[in-house]
């Protein structure tokens, strides 16, 4: 850290999150589990509450005031999401439940209909289950090969190995995380996309973690698909985003069928609405869209430069403090890493660590973090994981470090 003024007003930000004033087990809540799901600022809570109290009806096709206004509010979320990702066209934003559904949508609609048996999908060795299982199901059902690009011991994507996997030209799609939820590693989507395209493959990125901390520009990175999830970006649960290039969305058949996604219906034959509605069957997550819009506005008002600088400062501080703890091993050592730190501690089991930390009011996650194959890669069954949000302070990281010393003593 340098002498420049701190990039964001942490006290003001913390005051925006009502839950941070809570105590847990008589101690101030130290919430270091934001990578699992982030807390919600008052602006999000208020947006959802106000909608329910003053302006709510089902969207689209409603011709009355409440429906027109609610439609505007909901569709404004689409504009906000498009701007957030620098998508060229708001119609490229498909609202889904979460990242998981976004990935499954692509595996179903693109994978089952536009990939051919004999083609392959490449993922990496540090994917979340949500970017593994959809492709396994596709493989087992449709004979699409699944290839796994290895990572180095430092937890970085092995780009040479990735290139080798692409060499035979059979790969139709590369789907890789933009940031590991276990190692904190950032990948380089622009390089990955260029490599994929050079070998005739499309490139999809799982941005669930990355978009929380860094500006995402789908055009600059040359992505074909990009997925993320609202609840990690300080928004409500129940809403996520799939962005895809319009021509892809237009070529893809619908995934779910039902209301809102049709153009006309007869028993013999139905036709589909224009994108993105073709992919949004049924009543959408209206209130959640409205909440997500507020979350995006909140993040943009703070600005990614400040958010990223804060993340970098916290990560540096955390790695330094955890390095002081004897017997503690941090997973991965990527050059470019962010606010997620997984570790093991001597003989203490990750679950015991988490439970003991909870007695100090400190919330961390323990387990395989929905990344079992990555655990195996590093020869562990589970880790404890501390992860940071824009409200996290270095003081909280200090509290973690001190508590870990006590935990260690306790199990000594």
């Amino acid at each position: 850290m340098n002498d420049a003024p701190y990039p964001l007003d942490l006290a003001a930000i913390r005051a925006d999150f009502p839950i941070l004033a809570r105590t847990v087990r008589g101690k101030p809540l130290v919430f270091l589990d934001s990578a699992a799901s982030a807390q919600k600022p008052r602006a999000v809570i208020r947006a959802m509450t106000e909608a329910m109290e003053t302006q709510y009806a089902n969207v689209h096709r409603g011709l009355h005031w409440m429906s027109e206004r609610t439609t505007e509010a909901y569709e404004a979320a689409r504009d906000a999401a498009a701007q957030l990702m620098n998508a060229p066209d708001r119609h490229e934003i498909v609202f889904v439940r979460n990242s998981t559904e976004a990935l499954n949508l692509v595996a179903h609609s693109y994978g089952r209909h536009l990939l051919r048996p004999g083609q392959a999908v490449v993922i990496s060795a540090m994917e979340h289950h949500s970017n593994i299982i959809p492709w396994q199901l596709l493989r087992d059902e449709r004979g699409i090969e699944l290839r796994v690009a290895p990572i180095t011991d430092a937890g970085e994507l092995d780009m040479a190995a990735l290139e080798a996997l692409l060499a035979d030209g059979k790969v139709g799609l590369v789907s890789i995380t933009h940031m590991s939820n276990v190692l904190g590693t950032y990948t380089n989507p622009a390089r990955i996309a260029a490599l994929a395209h050079a070998h005739g493959a499309l490139a999809m990125f799982d941005g669930s973690q990355a978009i929380v901390h860094r500006a995402v520009d789908v055009q600059a990175m040359g992505a074909d698909f990009y997925a993320w999830t609202g609840h990690k970006l300080y928004g409500p649960t129940g809403i996520g985003v799939l962005w895809a290039r319009r021509e892809l969305l237009e070529a893809m058949p619908p995934f779910l069928g039902g209301g809102e996604m049709i153009s006309s219906v007869t028993y013999e034959r139905s036709t589909w609405a224009a994108v993105p509605h073709k992919f949004e069957a049924g009543t959408p997550a209206i209130l959640e869209g409205i909440g997500l819009k507020a979350a995006i506005d909140y993040v943009r008002a703070i600005g990614y430069p400040a958010i990223a600088a804060h993340e970098a400062a916290l990560t540096e501080h955390a790695l330094a403090r955890l390095a002081e703890i004897p017997g503690l091993t941090v997973l991965g050592a990527a050059q470019d890493r962010g606010g997620v730190v997984s570790f093991t501690l001597d003989r203490a089991h990750a679950h015991d660590i988490a439970t003991l930390l909870d007695r100090f009011g400190i919330a961390v996650r323990a387990g395989h973090h929905c990344a079992e194959p990555l655990m195996h890669r590093f020869g562990v069954e589970s880790t404890a994981r501390a992860s940071f949000g824009l409200y996290t302070t270095t003081g909280e990281i200090d509290a973690l470090a001190e508590a870990l010393l006590r935990v260690r003593e306790f199990f000594a």
């Binding site: 096709r61 011709l63 027109e68 153009s263 006309s264």
Partner: protein, 157 residues
């Protein structure tokens, strides 16, 4: 309730009601050079527009067959009235202005050359309060532009 009726008149001006009930151009032309269909699946509005051209390429006559609400029928009829004699380029410019009008209630940046026909279309400006009905007003225009472009179906969104 009298002021509510006043509100109603606001949006559904006599002119609109009159054009929707007694469209002057609501028929398939006996002879035409181009035609196209427009479909608003969201509400079931459907319109087919027929265009006859003058030798110089300007629009000689426009007719339509519509199944739809008062707004869409009136919009089709007023459109037929205002585009007669115009070039395809003029027609496109007029549609752009009209679209601004029904989306926002005004068209401040519209070229002055367009003021007169736009005036004629102004009764439809009230539609801007009902975003989901804007398509009712623009549907016939989408079909007309499609016909001028030589395609058979308007691709509205």
């Amino acid at each position: 309730m009298s002021d509510t009726l006043g509100d109603l008149r606001d949006l559904y001006q006599d002119l609109i009601l009159d054009h929707s009930r007694h469209p002057r151009h609501g028929k398939r032309l006996a002879a035409f050079d181009a035609s196209a269909k427009g479909d608003n699946p969201m509400c079931g509005d459907r319109v087919e527009v027929f265009v006859r051209r003058n030798p110089d390429g300007t629009i000689a006559e426009t007719g339509f067959e519509a199944r739809g609400c008062a707004i869409s029928v009136a919009a089709a009829d007023l459109m037929a009235e205002t585009v007669a004699g115009r070039t395809p380029a003029d027609t496109r410019a007029l549609f752009a202005a009209f679209r601004a009008l029904v989306r926002s209630g005004a068209c401040p940046d519209c070229p002055p050359g367009i003021a007169a026909p736009l005036e004629r279309l102004a009764p439809l400006a009230g539609v801007h309060e009902y975003p989901s009905r804007v398509k009712c007003a623009t549907l016939p225009w989408h079909a007309l532009i499609a016909a001028l472009d030589g395609s058979k179906e308007a691709s509205s969104e």
